[in-house]
Every structure is written in C-alpha cells, then in structure tokens.
C-alpha cells in the first residue's frame, strides 16, 4: 500500500515536472492535470486489485480489523475492563461474544485488544525495519570493513534462537508492559530484513545510475536516501509485513504464557486469561477462540497482502486473469500466423 503510493506519487511528480515547465500555463489545465493524476492513481489501484482475489480479501479484512481497532470505543458495547456480566456467560444479544471468567465482555475486549496488539506489532515492525534498513543499506553500500563488521553482527544475531531468547528475557524482566515487549521484539527481529536489504543494496549499488550519481558528486547520504531507498521499497515493505506478522504471533505467544502484562487488554492477555480459567475445558470456548480467531484473521490477511505485493513487483508471478489474457492473445497471434 505504502510502497505503491510512493511509487505512484513519484511517477506523478515526474509527470508534473514535465508539464509545469512552462511558466505561463493557464490555471484550467492545472486543474485538469490534477484530475489526470487522480485518475492515474485510481487506475493503478484498480489494476492492483483486478484479478487479484487475495489482495481484495486481504485488504478488506485488514481494513475491517483496523477500523474496528480505531473505533473501538465507539463500537464496543461495554467497558472492556469492568465486570459487566456473570462469569462465562454464553454469547447472547447483550454480550455478542459472551463474557470472560472475570465477567468482562469479550466483544469489547477483542476490539480494544486489537488496538494494543496491532500497535505492538506495528511499532515492533517499524523498529525492526528501521534498524534493518540502517544496517543493511550502510553495510551493502559502503562495503569494506564496515560491511564485514555489520555483516558479522547480523549473522550472530541471526543464529541466536530468537523466540527462546525472547521468552527468557520476558520472563526475567517480570511484569513486562507492552512497551517493553515492543522494544524487545523490534530489537530481536531486525536481522532477517537486514540481510535481505544488504544483498539487494549490493545488487543495486553497481547499477549505472548510482555510478553516475557518484560521479556527479552527490553526497553519500543523498544517494542512499534518494536513489537506493526508493528501489528497496517493495522489499522493505514485504519485510515490514512479515515482521508485523511475526511480532503479533510472538506477542500472543508471550501473552498466553503469562509473560506479558496480564492486566492490560490485548489479544495475548485475553488468551492468557482464557487459558488460566480453563475455558476450553469448561465449555466457554468463546473466551479462547475469539482472540485466537482475531489473531488468525489478522495474520492471514497480512500474509495475503504480502503475497499480492510480491505479484505486483514481480509480474511473472501473476496468475489468473492475466494468464488467461495472455493465452487469449497468444492464440489470436498464432491464428493470424496460420499456426493454429
């Protein structure tokens, strides 16, 4: 999403450059240019979704979830932190998804929990990718000693088993709030991205436009920011989504083990309380399965989006209608040539 928008905007800026060169362009055509730009953005977006059911499903799901999280206070039926029902009430009209062992409304909890869990995952992803970009690009672009050292550090982090480390750290730090978990996740999941970014940077580095930029005397920082980074967008974004998915899963895992903050409302802590009250055994499946389903849908949706982005950046991976179109065109060509 983000990457595509940037790409489109870049292209749009390019278009803009060429048409506004003349200083005496009338206002009317500027308005028309703006309409053209919007139209082109809209066409590109449609093209992204066209014949791409995973993208449609993924984006719709994620939108619903994000909207749910954003508007949680408005959409909730009760205060998620107050006792509003008897323990383990089954889903009913008053409590759409039932109540927990503590008498709290599951529906309201899952909405508010979305905020916490999504925030943790998002920020962990941002932290991880920022470090990954910093390390990967510097290492890949500068090469030499710097590269050797950074690569070494990256590899060391890579071979250390991250999840057990996370668990050990979380356990020892005691009642860790979500802030700590976010930082922990961000700081332990950057190596993957760094490695990929590094190899991609190294591939781009030797391309002509970089060499010409260097010859022109552009500063290294500018080269990195303006020439290299934009070309990494899709990888970075893909890595970002992957980290977000991983971070969400890790937060849930830590949560259910009781290593997170059990008094905050998040999907992980919902799982914890469900586990602790043996809700699956006592037949109160809703307490456990609702946050589990939420996590599943979010993870799955992000994965679908990730997959679609792959398709856009590498058109060879396109399936479905594109292939049909290609086959159709191919057949027509062959007919014309008399080969069929």
């Amino acid at each position: 999403m983000f990457g595509l928008t940037l790409e489109f905007l870049n292209k749009v800026i390019d278009m803009n450059k060429s048409t506004t060169m003349a200083a005496d362009t009338p206002v009317r055509s500027r308005k028309k240019e703006f309409q053209l730009k919007c139209h082109s953005v809209w066409m590109k977006t449609k093209a992204f979704f066209h014949g791409n059911p995973p993208a449609i499903i993924g984006v719709s799901l994620i939108t619903i979830i994000i909207l749910g999280a954003l508007f949680a206070p408005v959409l909730s039926s009760h205060n998620p932190e107050k006792r509003v029902a008897r323990p383990h009430e089954a889903p009913s009209t008053e409590h759409v998804l039932g109540s927990t062992r503590n008498g709290r409304d599951v529906y309201s909890q899952v909405l508010h929990g979305a905020r916490k869990s999504l925030t943790v995952a998002l920020f962990a992803g941002i932290i991880a990718m920022t470090i990954a970009i910093a390390v990967g690009v510097t290492s890949g672009y500068l090469g030499g000693k710097v590269d050797e050292w950074m690569n070494f550090i990256t590899n060391v982090f890579l071979v250390f088993p991250q999840l057990p480390l996370l668990i050990v750290l979380a356990a020892f730090l005691g009642q860790v709030g979500s802030m700590v978990i976010t930082v922990l996740l961000g700081v332990t999941s950057w190596p993957w991205g760094a490695r990929v970014i590094r190899s991609q940077t190294m591939a781009i580095r030797n391309k002509e436009f970089i060499i010409s930029a260097e010859a022109m005397g552009e500063s290294k920082i500018r080269i990195i920011l303006v020439e290299i980074l934009p070309n990494l967008i899709s990888i970075v974004f893909g890595g970002f989504l992957g980290t977000v998915i991983y971070a969400m899963g890790a937060e849930a895992g830590l949560g259910i083990l009781g290593l997170g903050d059990a008094t905050e409302v998040s999907w992980g802590s919902m799982l914890y309380w469900a586990q602790v009250s043996s809700s699956l055994y006592t037949g109160a499946w809703w307490e456990m399965l609702v946050p589990a389903a939420a996590l599943a849908l979010t993870g799955g949706a992000l994965a679908l989006i990730n997959m679609s982005i792959d398709q856009v950046s590498n058109p060879k991976l396109k399936t479905g209608p594109h292939m049909k179109l290609w086959h159709k065109l191919n057949r027509e060509t062959m007919k014309r040539r008399g080969l069929l």
């Binding site: 062992r101 503590n102 008498g103 005691g174 008094t263 043996s278 055994y281 006592t282």
Partner: protein
Amino acid sequence: MHSKKILASIVCGLLVSANGVMAEDIKQGGTLTVPIINTGFVENFNPYTSGGLFEGVLFEPLMVFNNMTGKVEYRLAESAEYSTDLKTITVKLRDNLNWSDGKPLTAKDVAFSFTMTKSAPAFDQKAIWSSGNLASVTATDAKTIVFTLNNADSTFIWGLPKYHILPEHVWGKVAAKDLPTFTNPNPVGSGPMTDIKYLKPQQMQLCRNTNYYLENRPYIDCITYRSYNDNSQVQPALMKGEIDWGSNFIADIENTFVAADPKNNHFWYPANDAIHLYVNTKEAPFDNLNVRKALSMALDRDEIVDIAAYGYPTTNFNAGGIGELYTPYISKEVTEKYKDITTFNPEKAEQLLDDAGLKDLNDDGFRQMPNGDKVEFDINVVNGWTDWIQVVQMVTEYYEEIGIKANVKTVDWAVYDKGLKESEYKMSINWSMVATNPIEAYQAYFLTEQIGKSWHAGHGVNSAEIDALVNSFGLTNDVAKQQAILDQLQEFTASNLPFIPLFSNATWYQYRTENLVGWPSKENPYVQPVWYDGGKRNLIINNLHLK
C-alpha cells in the same frame, strides 16, 4: 417357628456383618493413581531432595498431628511425651518394627536420622539444630529415644514428624558431604509402599511393603504416580477418570468434573490457611487504624469468594488472625466483638475515611490525603497465581467504589518474596502458616526476630509484650493456659488490624469413588485431605480400599 429362626439368623447375620466391616471384609488389592505436577520422574529417592514425593509412602513418620480431629495419630512411635519441665521428650517406638529389607527398625535408626541432619544442614527442615535449642538426641534402649532441649519448649514436638526416619545401615555409609546429592538407589523404607515396580519418565509405580508394621495394611496394592505439566493438564485427566485423587485447583468443578460422572466424582474443600491483605502500617495513610478498618469494611467477602474464586474458599470473618482451619482455637468473643470490621459496609467505610481526613478534594472520584497528596497504591500478587489475581482485581474494584485508587501489581515471585520479607509493599495479598497449632502462625506474624525472615512479619505491628506473650506459649503444656494466650493474641490482632482478613484458602481435594473408597469427606472428616503433607497422605493411603 421355622421362619422366625430364619429371620433371627438373618438379622444376626446382618448385625455381625455390620460390625464386621472391619479388616476381614475389606478387599485387598487395587491401585491408586495420583497426579504429580513436576517435570518428570528421576531416580532420586532421597526424601529431602525429591520434593516430598515419597514422604508417608516410602517413609513412615513417627506420628501425625491430625489438626482436623485434634488427635495425635501414632505411627512408628507408640508414644511421645514431655517431661514436666518441658525440656525432655521421650519417644517410644512400637514393638517389632522392620525395614522393607527385613532388618529391624530400632531407636538407633531414629537417633541417627536426627543427628544426621546436623551434618547436613540442608536437611534441617524445622531448624532444630540451627536454632540451638536441641542439645542431643539419644537412643537409650532399642525402643526409646530421648530428645534433650536447652530451653523449655512445648512446641518443639510438632517439628519432629518433618524429619524422615532413615535406615542407618544404608545412610550411615554415606559421607556427610555427599548426603545432599545422595539419591538413595534401591530405597529401603518403612512406609506402606516401598517396592518400586517401575520408574518411567512420566509414570512410576510403588507397590506394597510386605514388611509393613500394620497388619493387613495397606489394603491397596500399589500407587501409580503420573506426571503432569501443570493444573490445566490435571483437569482433563480427572474428567476422563485417569486419576483418583486430585489436589489442585480445578476450574468450574461442578460442571466439568462432577458432571462427568456424578455418582463417582466428588470434591470437598475444607478450609486451609487464612489469606489476608497485608497492609504496610508504617506508611500513611495506612498508619491510621481507622483507615485500615475502612479498607476492610469496603469489601464484600462473600462476593469475592463467589465470583473471583468460584465459591470454593471459605469466607473469613475472623479479625483475630486465624481462620476456620483452626476452628477449635478461634475465640468467639473476639470474632463477635470485632465483627463490624469484617462486615460489608461501604457507607461506614466512607465515613471513616472522611473522618480520617481523606476527602476527594479535586473531584476526580478519588480521595486525597489531607495535604492534597494523591492516595494511590499497588497491591502485590504473584504473576501466575491467577485466582489471587482475580481476587485482588475485585478488591481494587471495591476500593474504587469508596474513592480509593488501588492497582493490581503482578510481580515475579522473587520480587514478591523480597517485598513481603522487607516490607517493600503498600499492600500485598499473603497467605499464613498451616501448622499443628495456630501459635506457629502468630510466631510468624509477630516475633520481632522473624522480621526480614518470615513472609508474614512485615506489616509493622510489633511490641515487646507480644513477643513475650508468643514465647510464653512454649513454656506451658496446659491446654487452658495455651488457649488463653491464643485468645489474647487474637484480641491484639483484631484491635490493631495489621492485616485485613479475606478468606481461607480451600484445601484442593477431588476424589473418585469408582474404584476406591475410604476417602476423607464431609461426612467422614477423619483427616485434612492434603496430598502434599506426608503424614496426612499416609493416613489416607492406609484407609483406602477397593469398593
């Protein structure tokens, strides 16, 4: 004529058989399956390092102080008596005691078992040596052991059953420094089950001791131990009937366990130790007795027990510091006199707080100190003790109703432990001592020497007179005098309210009568059904038999 005779003989027969539901009628055989929460079984039969697995099973105690009936059940020992000056205890063993390998069990073994813990201080569970009170333990003849104390102490004898009686011909060969790591392979014991049938990582079985000192006992042939990860694993096992005796918290027990087989699945939760909210009386505003009273009156204990704890524990309205576990010792006068402290009365609570100067000055719904400082504090509870976390959550809700801002703080055990011992808390939920006699609870509460060592002494209410009072208990063996001391201690506790009573923990106990009967129950409360106590376990094992 004929029919009358038949009738008479039938009636006679019935009478005889009714009386005769004694040893002859009880079937021999059967296996008891018990869940053990651990990481798996290993070949370690050292009773001091094997987590209490084999107490009362492999190793028979000298005697058992049965706090439920108030009697002493003599096991290996036939009698144990104090001298009049309370400085000597004479223990007499039964006749014809043997170890499972056939060798005789004599006073020498007993004396050895005690003196051994002097050279292995890690085994000195009741600190009989390190406290300096035990002068010597000697076997005066084959059946008699004499404990000589330096100072009179009528409570000393209660610590004796915690020490395991071990065969000198096996343990005497182990060097003192090797004792802690000694795994005691091919164990020789005196308990009801000493034959290790098999030991697999997740299951082990012990079978009967053919040299057991009680005739025809145990009725059952074997005990199977099954290893489980934690409580949540035990629950489905109980529900499926894979185990006979559970000793852990089970969620929603009526609908899960009992409903699975109402005829055979039972549970009984008699009161265990009293749970209190500890208050740091050295800090404002808790230094004000009326504030503490208000904090107590704000709580609806019945609701807390019902909702947070499924109704399993027993509500504790006694402000005297002890709960229903020690029912015979509770002073009814004290409870009656101070009952308004433990009665749910939020209006009175608010009034007391107003009188103490804690008012809501800035209208945010919460009270402040007279000088405007915020009143906000954490209530400590251990991460993972979820039923207590739920209790504390409800407590904070009640406090919010009267305008006091309190937060649940789940902490690591290490932090909690340190906090309790060094008074690093504003408020903390806390348990109390389970012992033969409540004086031990008061020792933990009030003795100034316990501050920093015991979990229960950090509340800040102490005095020299109380120290003397608690210590005077050991100087007398007279039950009436002892009770008088206990009454005074209860009065002191209730009038000073160093901690707020909540409820008595439940003794977690589930049992199935599908295969075995003879369980302690509400109808037959012959012992407090605590698996984790070797002596009590021993009594129950010896009473179980096939249906």
